[in-house]
Amino acid sequence: MIGSGASLWQTILRRLAAGVVVLWVVSVLLFAAVTVLPGDPATRILGPDATPANVSALREQLDLDRPAVERYFSWLGGLVRGDAGQSVSRQPVSDMLSERIVNSFALAAAASLIALTLALVVGVAAGLRASQPADTLLSVATLIGISVPDFVVAGLLVSLFAFTLEWFPPVSLLLARQSVFEEPKILVLPAVALAIPSGAWASRYVRAAVVDIRHSASVEAARLAGLSPARVLIRHILPGIIGQTAQVLAAATAFMVGGAVVVEQVFAYPGLGSLLAGAVAVLDVSVILATGLVMAGTVIVAFLLADVVAVLADPRLRKSRE
């Protein structure tokens, strides 16, 4: 949580600087992980029937003959200069990433919105009815939502909404020169598939926060003062859980980043997740590093934003800063 003594902006800058260090550590870990995996891109691309001469030629072309440490620092140097390197397919990684970042952020935004709505509606409803049958029912439902794997949720959504009701396309196809904003319908099913597990998980924390705040002195006082339950909810309970909800939603974003790799594959959605899956298949180091850093950066920024929201939403923290 952002400290109350320093100015908000100073703290944000400090956190961003720490984020850069975290990203560097992530890049080292990713590079090490890819390097220790058996095989190399040349053998993965050419397969087992390639002659040693052909493998050697491709290794040379892909710059795999140099020591791993040298390759890492060469990549890092390029990144600092704004060059994310080349894919094994010789395409500039930045070109491959640019549109997919937009697509993934569109998907993440839609999924976050759905997850937030789900978390608030289910969490508040369960919290207000704590220990009642409705609470138990919602608890079981959210547990199912958390437990069922992403690809199963995706399959069920396709079966119901694409093939039975025919409301949405089963596959999130984008053809050449088409943008996701021209075809917003393709976002719906993957966004819901991503949002269900994270939203269900977040709703359990929202419920706990609501249960806590319901027994706080301020809410008790409001109730004794004769405010209607709706007013108590809007004026006292919801503002009181904003900070915690933001934190939980940031954590849910981290889950969604991981889930996107699976969900994007299932729906053939052209985002960072499917790009990463394809890159891992051929050990395309530059693409793996770049995609991994964007994903890690997203999580860092999500937690930072959550902290900022928490500070702004909490009168005590605002006052202490003033």
Binding site: G39, G47, A50, A57, A162, V171, L175, Q265, P270, A281
Partner: protein, 525 residues
């Protein structure tokens, strides 16, 4: 099509492998507008229907691929891209249902020793109106043969003497070889001989000479092609053809069922079975000629399979029919331990190896084999299921089999461990026997998984390759197959057909070398 030695790599192999026939060393086209694709029906419903083909319309065809694929023809590594190039460019020759078909080549002749091949080109134009010349063909052969430029293709052209290539006139290309190759057309040109304009390498504005022209392209999304009205051969019927990249087989099927594409290349066998009765789509089977050979590979250089009794016992213990029916859902045929079933050159006179539990037990006992270990993994769909079935089949023969399972994408990471393992799961693309055994057997083969072969065997393979006479070459190849049937450690339990699906109204798709060709396709069903 990976695809690790995954689906993508498998598909890529399939695309450049394929069927071929022991043909004479002279091949002449039947006419200028021979419709290779239409005549090369693979037995698919689409190709065999009798509906009247009508021009017009747009077809979206889904095939495997990824954002990391390349628009550089020489570095193609995904079925979606192969589909683009084989509909946008022409080959000198290609293989269809096991037969060599001439395309841009009017004729291909060799000298008596099969050390020099002369190719006469048809009169054809590039999409920009310029003529296709022998210089373009020479450039293409040199580029595909350069390991640095085209590492995935170069090995098949390794016998060409690139420095000696000549172009006496605009229509004539002379290819000298470093050694005699009587099988040069079917084993080399028939596998990869796309012709590109001199100095080009494909890309988003690629110019070809094929039935479709480039309109728009984005790697990992789709490539849109439009009809080439000036095509030198039979005119294509479709106005537009969009090749859509969808890497996941289930997603391809979903896109077809949801009306987002009209053709799904490569669907899962489970999906094919599940949708067999669906009247809104048709399942297209490739036939066994375009197939994957599934097998267990025994290393005959190390115990216990250096003992012929142990090897014979293993061959007799395997219930091939049960494996085909269970693992392949019936979409295939049983194997007989030689690659090439359904293709010309395959030795059909070899006795089919049938399961014989009693004899297997006796031979295992004689060899002292009571326990075995097998390296396996889901590197190709069905490999793990087949291995698990083998556990129970060997148990019935008194042998306890322990599986050493690896993640599918790491199966080929440690070649040495894979080669050294006495027993492992494996697959091969079903290629004509001579092509397969020249590449994967013998002491000089880079990927001889069973270690079969010796100098005498190597010499016989080389002699068969060099023999310009098709009849005697067939006899040589038959003998080599008989040797492998007896002595090789491959236990080929089944040949899995390639299975695709399309909407009922789409007809006329021909699949050759695993790649769908849309020149005769129409939406007239």
């Amino acid at each position: 099509m990976p695809q690790p030695l995954s689906r993508r790599r498998f598909l890529r192999n399939a695309a450049v492998g394929g069927a071929m026939l022991a043909v004479p060393s002279v091949l002449v086209a039947c006419g200028d507008d021979d419709d290779d694709d239409q005549s090369s029906s693979t037995g698919s419903p689409a190709a065999s229907e009798t509906t009247v083909a009508t021009p017009g319309g747009k077809v979206r065809a889904a095939a495997a691929g990824a954002a990391t694929d390349s628009l550089n023809v020489f570095q193609t590594n995904g079925m979606a891209q192969y589909t683009v190039w084989y509909n946008l460019y022409d080959s000198l020759a290609y293989l269809s249902a096991g037969q060599v078909q001439l395309s841009l080549a009017e004729s291909i002749n060799s000298n008596a020793a099969a050390t020099e091949w002369t190719i006469k080109l048809k009169k054809a134009n590039w999409h920009d109106g310029k003529p296709v010349t022998s210089k373009d063909a020479a450039y293409s052969i040199r580029s595909f043969g350069d390991p640095k430029n085209a590492p995935g293709f170069a090995s098949s052209l390794a016998d060409v003497d690139f420095a000696g290539i000549r172009t006496p006139d605009d229509q004539t290309l002379v290819l000298p070889l470093k050694r005699a190759r009587g099988d040069f057309i079917e084993s080399v040109l028939g596998q990869a001989s796309l012709v590109l304009p001199e100095g080009s390498s494909g890309g988003a504005t690629a110019v070809g000479s094929g039935p479709f022209k480039m309109a728009a392209a984005e790697v990992g999304k789709s490539v849109r092609l439009v009809r080439n009205d000036d095509y030198w051969g039979s005119k294509p019927l479709l106005d537009e053809l969009e090749i859509v990249t969808i890497d996941d087989a289930t997603a391809r099927m979903n896109a077809l069922k949801g009306g987002q594409v009209e053709y799904a290349h490569g669907i899962s066998l489970a999906a094919a079975q599940a949708e067999a009765a669906n009247k809104n789509l048709k399942v297209q089977r490739s036939g066994v000629g375009i197939a994957t050979a599934h097998l267990f590979a025994a290393n005959v250089a190390v115990p216990p399979f250096n003992n012929p009794n142990a090897l014979r016992a293993l061959k007799l213990a395997v219930d091939r029919k049960a494996l085909v029916n269970t693992v392949l859902y019936g979409y295939g045929e049983v194997g007989n331990d030689v690659v090439g079933k359904g293709l010309p050159g395959y030795n059909t006179s070899l006795p089919q190896i049938e399961r014989n539990v009693a004899e297997a037990k006796q031979l295992f006992s004689k060899a002292g084999v009571t326990e075995l270990k097998m390296r396996t993994g889901e590197f190709v769909s069905g490999a793990t299921a087949a291995a698990q079935l083998l556990v129970s089949q060997l148990a019935e023969c008194g042998v306890k089999l322990t599986l050493e399972s690896l993640p599918g994408d790491q199966y080929f990471s440690d070649y040495q461990a894979l080669f050294d393992a006495p027993l492992k799961s494996m697959y091969f693309i079903n290629r004509p026997p001579l092509t397969h055994l020249a590449t994967y057997t013998g002491s000089k083969a880079g990927f001889n998984i069973t270690k079969v072969g010796n100098p005498d065997y190597d010499a016989k393979v080389a002699a068969a390759q060099a023999n310009p006479d098709a009849t005697s070459r067939k006899k040589q190849v038959d003998e080599l197959q008989a040797y492998l049937h007896e002595n090789d450690g491959l236990v080929i339990w089944g040949f899995q057909e390639n299975v695709h699906a399309h909407t009922p109204k789409l007809t006329g798709i021909a699949v050759s070398q695993s790649v769908p060709r849309f020149i005769a396709a129409s939406l007239s069903g």
